[in-house]
Symmetry: D2
Amino acid sequence: MAIRTPQQYIESLKDGRVVFCNGERVKDVTEHPILKICRDWVAMDYVLENDPRYRDLITEKNEEGDRVSFVLMPQRSREDLLRLREIVKLWARVCFGKPPGAKFVAKDGLNAVTVVSQRIDKKYGTKYAKNVETYRKYLQKNDLSFSMGLTDVKGDRSLRPSQQKRHQDYYIRIVEERKDGIIVRGAKTHISQAPLCNEILIAPCRAMREDDKAYAVSFAVPANSPGITMISAEPEVHEVNLFDHPIAGSVYINDATIIFEDVFVPKERIFLKGEWDFAGQVAYMFANFHRLSAETYKAMELELFTGAAVLMAEYNGVEKVPHVREKLTWLVMYTEAVEIIGRSACEHCISEPDSDLVYPNPLYANICKFHFADNWHQATKYIQDIAGGITVTCPTGKDFMNPEIRDLMDKYLGGREGVPTEHRLRMAKLIRDLTSSYEDVLTIHAEGSLEAQKLSIYALADFDRYKAAATRAARLENGKAHPLFKDLPAFPPNL
Amino acid sequence: MAIRTPQQYIESLKDGRVVFCNGERVKDVTEHPILKICRDWVAMDYVLENDPRYRDLITEKNEEGDRVSFVLMPQRSREDLLRLREIVKLWARVCFGKPPGAKFVAKDGLNAVTVVSQRIDKKYGTKYAKNVETYRKYLQKNDLSFSMGLTDVKGDRSLRPSQQKRHQDYYIRIVEERKDGIIVRGAKTHISQAPLCNEILIAPCRAMREDDKAYAVSFAVPANSPGITMISAEPEVHEVNLFDHPIAGSVYINDATIIFEDVFVPKERIFLKGEWDFAGQVAYMFANFHRLSAETYKAMELELFTGAAVLMAEYNGVEKVPHVREKLTWLVMYTEAVEIIGRSACEHCISEPDSDLVYPNPLYANICKFHFADNWHQATKYIQDIAGGITVTCPTGKDFMNPEIRDLMDKYLGGREGVPTEHRLRMAKLIRDLTSSYEDVLTIHAEGSLEAQKLSIYALADFDRYKAAATRAARLENGKAHPLFKDLPAFPPNL
Amino acid sequence: MAIRTPQQYIESLKDGRVVFCNGERVKDVTEHPILKICRDWVAMDYVLENDPRYRDLITEKNEEGDRVSFVLMPQRSREDLLRLREIVKLWARVCFGKPPGAKFVAKDGLNAVTVVSQRIDKKYGTKYAKNVETYRKYLQKNDLSFSMGLTDVKGDRSLRPSQQKRHQDYYIRIVEERKDGIIVRGAKTHISQAPLCNEILIAPCRAMREDDKAYAVSFAVPANSPGITMISAEPEVHEVNLFDHPIAGSVYINDATIIFEDVFVPKERIFLKGEWDFAGQVAYMFANFHRLSAETYKAMELELFTGAAVLMAEYNGVEKVPHVREKLTWLVMYTEAVEIIGRSACEHCISEPDSDLVYPNPLYANICKFHFADNWHQATKYIQDIAGGITVTCPTGKDFMNPEIRDLMDKYLGGREGVPTEHRLRMAKLIRDLTSSYEDVLTIHAEGSLEAQKLSIYALADFDRYKAAATRAARLENGKAHPLFKDLPAFPPNL
Amino acid sequence: MAIRTPQQYIESLKDGRVVFCNGERVKDVTEHPILKICRDWVAMDYVLENDPRYRDLITEKNEEGDRVSFVLMPQRSREDLLRLREIVKLWARVCFGKPPGAKFVAKDGLNAVTVVSQRIDKKYGTKYAKNVETYRKYLQKNDLSFSMGLTDVKGDRSLRPSQQKRHQDYYIRIVEERKDGIIVRGAKTHISQAPLCNEILIAPCRAMREDDKAYAVSFAVPANSPGITMISAEPEVHEVNLFDHPIAGSVYINDATIIFEDVFVPKERIFLKGEWDFAGQVAYMFANFHRLSAETYKAMELELFTGAAVLMAEYNGVEKVPHVREKLTWLVMYTEAVEIIGRSACEHCISEPDSDLVYPNPLYANICKFHFADNWHQATKYIQDIAGGITVTCPTGKDFMNPEIRDLMDKYLGGREGVPTEHRLRMAKLIRDLTSSYEDVLTIHAEGSLEAQKLSIYALADFDRYKAAATRAARLENGKAHPLFKDLPAFPPNL
């Protein structure tokens, strides 16, 4: 099969999965009025794979000669990473900044277990790499959509998994080992598009100690596995309405909570089991790949965001006002810096030792993600300032369509001459969607919190180089000099 | 009558007014499922007036000896302003940071026309002050709710009212003068709670030039006056749901658009008519009073906001994490600075010359409002960072009430031991409400945009004092010294 | 005597004290070319005391009927604090933002030991309060200048005093107890104007534990006590030059390092000796008073700073450029916010329980100091941006006075027509002085670092009030409600 | 000759040039105690050219087969730009972040006139390109140091050159045309190292209109040309002292003011003469190249800066304190972002049409420079916060060398065990130098002010792309779609 059609994808979801949404058990996730938004968004992955204009970019022949999704293949070069980046950009451009999630997140988890399983095998003589490879081929062959279950529900954040007091299931753990596999219990949360995916890939979300051994577990299972319950995140909209909610009405990421009540995992689907010293590496390597994905789509989202700001400035007749120009300029810098730094993370990628895999430069990827997330609220402030109160006080699209008041709204809610009132109203609605608390929180917490990025950056920084520079300038020769500095000529010179 | 009951207020709204909401004409604004949220919120004004615990604070005997709403009386002293501030604080505390709008905004408009009408009468020999006074007595006697119609729809913001190209009605204007009054046309927008008020007070929103004379108009009319159409802002919720939307489910400010299609205003209800040189003063003086009101309720909103941040930090078990403490400390500073500077604007109020009226120190009031609005997005970033992804990925209250999954949610979505899961979920929902794009835009644009505050501050600054200090330090004696500096002893001294 | 003349002050410094400056032992601190800058600055205290225009403000009759320096008397009311504030404002206005240090810093130390000694006596039955009172009278009677020795040299900041490894003298400690007093050893650093003061008041700079008992010591000694060595801070200038260094040429604060090599302190001069549980309170109470002093003079410094920015904008012809106006507006807000919040700390002062003393509201004082220090670098960026490169590339005053090039400089370095070139050059030099690294560091570290303020604010915050507001809004009744919230009417109401 | 020795460079400066410094005419710039600092710094260019380890990087064979300075050759490829960047990095690493100025600034001017002269010749049939080429060969052959005279003294910044009121010479202008050349008058300011260079290259600093024709002039002359007077900027130090001033004691950039009193320029040295429509292009293209140079050396300066912060944190024992780690992390991000974005400007360079020249991506170069300059003051705040008050209260190196107090200082001013006191003191002094007002102003104003970068970024932004993204998301089809968006598949799909 290899490349599925959107219809095949949709049919595959009718598999008895247990999903709740808005307080009710969902009979068929493909027909639920709100889940359908998520369904169509995820399906865009398949729409694009089947579009002849994009096939060469998105699909590739694998070693068996089958044409499969390129993102399901491991990245082995700078060029692979840059191509991956182009695919994410296309996905994001098509879907208003939000790449459809059929494989978008979980591919980074797959890459992470690919890298780390080799390391574990090397140290412990395990055979996880083979399991990963088999799973990868299975995904390729069936062109499956899969979700990445990383974040545990965590309970008390000040305690490690095994220290939790109320109960021991705040992080997914192995509750029983069998000959043919394991039984796991726990819950993952914020799992994007899980209710609309075929498979779920699970990995630990943090470093662990020996006590936490039972929590050091990574595996993959079908979404309809017995014992799995998925509860949808509160939807942003209660009906499809592309006038009032141009983004939220077409993109419902549905960061669900997935509960595992004693779910069986067959042994060939296990990628980590008890090697607690590698738990953190999986999380870290996922973050590493995923920050690249994040900053790629974010650059596309910012493109749209900055465009909305410029257009609304023009519609309001204020695009030449100095403070507006200043804000637009800032938005341009913000948009482009995310693109530049993200791209550099690919251009200056890192090779995994003893392996033919590469990954994005983690220092750059973290800086990029942080730059994006740290400045987001400033950006929302600017666009809201430019757009004006109409962003939130605008009547609804239904009002605008009501012939009783259509003419009045058309007359009075217009902006600059020559701009149709409808354009101004739709742009106001777009800006409201773009600056929702959902978008805010997504920005800060998706792909790791600001603090997570800071920790990584501190750990990755080349402090020795910095210190050597300072030591030399302060005329201190303490023998610790860095190669770049140790042989530099004396300054000032003796002339 | 003087003090009405909530029921009397509600009955008074059944007056044939023309209101639209969500695309439909509303038959009875008091029974509409969403407008009722606004109704109950506005009604709290009357609930509190009738509460014996607050009567002495909220009501006062007027000159005729009737007990009337204190906020409908003019402020004549520092103490009056501080009492007004206490009333606004009570209103805001009761209603989660949002003072019910029966008189909250329009009282500041009434105060503005009170001050400015005296100035106009003095210059032009008009009799507007008497009209204002009569209207004030009428409001007192009938304890009416009234809305403030300030912001015109504006069209092209780069053009003044009379320069607009598409049509001439982007700002409310006099289209006909009659013996007994005037006919006005135009539209006001972002008019808080207008569909649920008895009266509408209209004033210009900007300074004008002679060309704009027809737009220099201020008056008051009943909300059901023929020719008035009100279109509600898009509601934040589609049903009352205090679990998922604790704020938006109980406070619907409904910043409506009000369209005046040739509405008649009797001459005794006119407070400005063509004196274009005073148009800006009304707008300015309104802003002046209203910024005080704003910063008063904002301090209460921040109290709640900071409380939610602290509690969520505790529920998550992260309140001792250094970066969380740092953010909480920042939130405390932000909250208290708004309180301190706002209160100082009353404590150091200004007396209107040749009058017994006082108004809040405008420099301080503007600094306070700016400080609040300029830092808001930073605050939302901090609270979202502390609260975590659950803010937006949390399932709904209906899920939590569903016995099929209640126990699962209770088990897995809890935080620190001892904290009921429900507390954590409700707090997450509260934080989502507090950081919605509605709140963001309200913060920036209500009570005047950031730029409006900057303009005022620049205009009000005591640059001469600053310059004198700098001139003296630079040892320049250019004769412009300020009294505070001109006679200071020489430094360094000649010893 | 009570009020001394400047000459009497100067004569009193010829007392054999051990002072170093620029690598050399200073024979007579009153005649040293650079220390003289500090001398004249400190002497301004006496110049002003003797100026009939300011006497009523600065001096007051004490209980004995002698006219003494008001700042040497304890503050017993809001009015006392506001008067103290006015004195500091005068001092600061006269001396370009830097209050002459004869008593400026140490008065806050005196107030701190006044408050805390009463607490210690109450708990331990000691008699420190009497010692403080006797010392206070001695200072009053002789109108002495005194320095505040708070900050120890500290060594490794991660270790408490008794944990230090290299040696045990990084914090001043008692090395011997005698019948008639104690012997102390250690060093204090950043001690403003110490080499030019009569007395030195010593207090601990941090909270301590029982191990640190020997370090819990407060006392006062004359500056020429045997065993004291003072090493001046590197001066900012190498000669007096009021053209190129209008501030640094007239204000040399000289934050010296004072080393105590086994100095004897008579027992009646001891204010704390071993009561380690009160060490932190002295430091805290000093900070409390001194932050008020700090924000008072800072408001004056900012007045000057903002004035220099406005004038330079005018001299350069850019005062109407939008981004310049925006920056000036920000500077005005910054300047006035420091004034407003600082004043509020006095207006809303706190009464010490069981005492007739008051002190500035510590929450407000800390917020004010933090606001000042946190925004300073932004302010320097703005003024440097407005002023232009000439700030640092300007030739010297001697070049301008050189007839060979005077005309060329006059012709080419001028700004807007009508502004003498000399004004522009002097203003550029003033701005360089105002934005030196000395000023930067003073802003951040004097009166406690940013972190110190954050810790205080966190400790002082009324979190219970905040939490009550949030709990109520989230509809959680957990019995912890704050009095302000517990009896509020239900909202939404049941109508 | 081609490559000169440092001695040859120094000898070449004894040419009768007219230079003032500290109020006096300098007889021999190579022997003046302060100018010597500048001399040795500039000479490092020649030291490095003659160092066999760097020769292959720094020098290259030109078309004539002579080995010349690579930076005096035009850049024709991405690789050339990256090599240029490496050279600037070496220069900057050797000299503590400040590339010695023999050719550092003016090479960018040379590149600018190279590009623009071809454009002028194309439009007007002039022969400037040949003059530029001849001049370039002359510089190569003689390995000359040359300064870039860009910034005019400007007078009233609100007026264009020809509108100035006090006199007409605020911008350099042609006062007379002769057969063999022109006579120019005016003054340039902030001209780095001009008094220590052989040649001065002059270009306009802004766009001009037809009225300003006489000011549209670019040329090169020897520094000792009759009529040229150079007045040095006030030096940061008054004597060489590498302990107290490790940077300012070895790098004196000397941003001099150069006055042209009717200086003759031979016609073959003219690169622009009256073609006012190209004046802005020269300034712009210079900025373009120079911003790259700037961000390259800035990245090196930040390396040193961040190193000083880390070391001081360690010396003080606070490197594990959370707020310190947070600040260090921020400094790392800041340092690396400048490197990443600056490098990307080379990697994604632009080809000049109809030419074989390339230049750094101007959008990226401006973003990089802005990012650097906009965050600098934040960085200084952080390092000063980490380093503590000792940064400015530290006694002098002479005190430390004085045996009377050496032991006391050594004992008391130390930090963490194991760190020599001298290291801590020297690091404190380094930090003072790095955060001087000189460094601040250099950061903001060198290579163009923040506003200049904003203007460029706004002009260069791809707003059409942004708008297309927003228009599509708002479901508006207005025909303006960008190629990247116009053919994207429909979303949501119709499934």
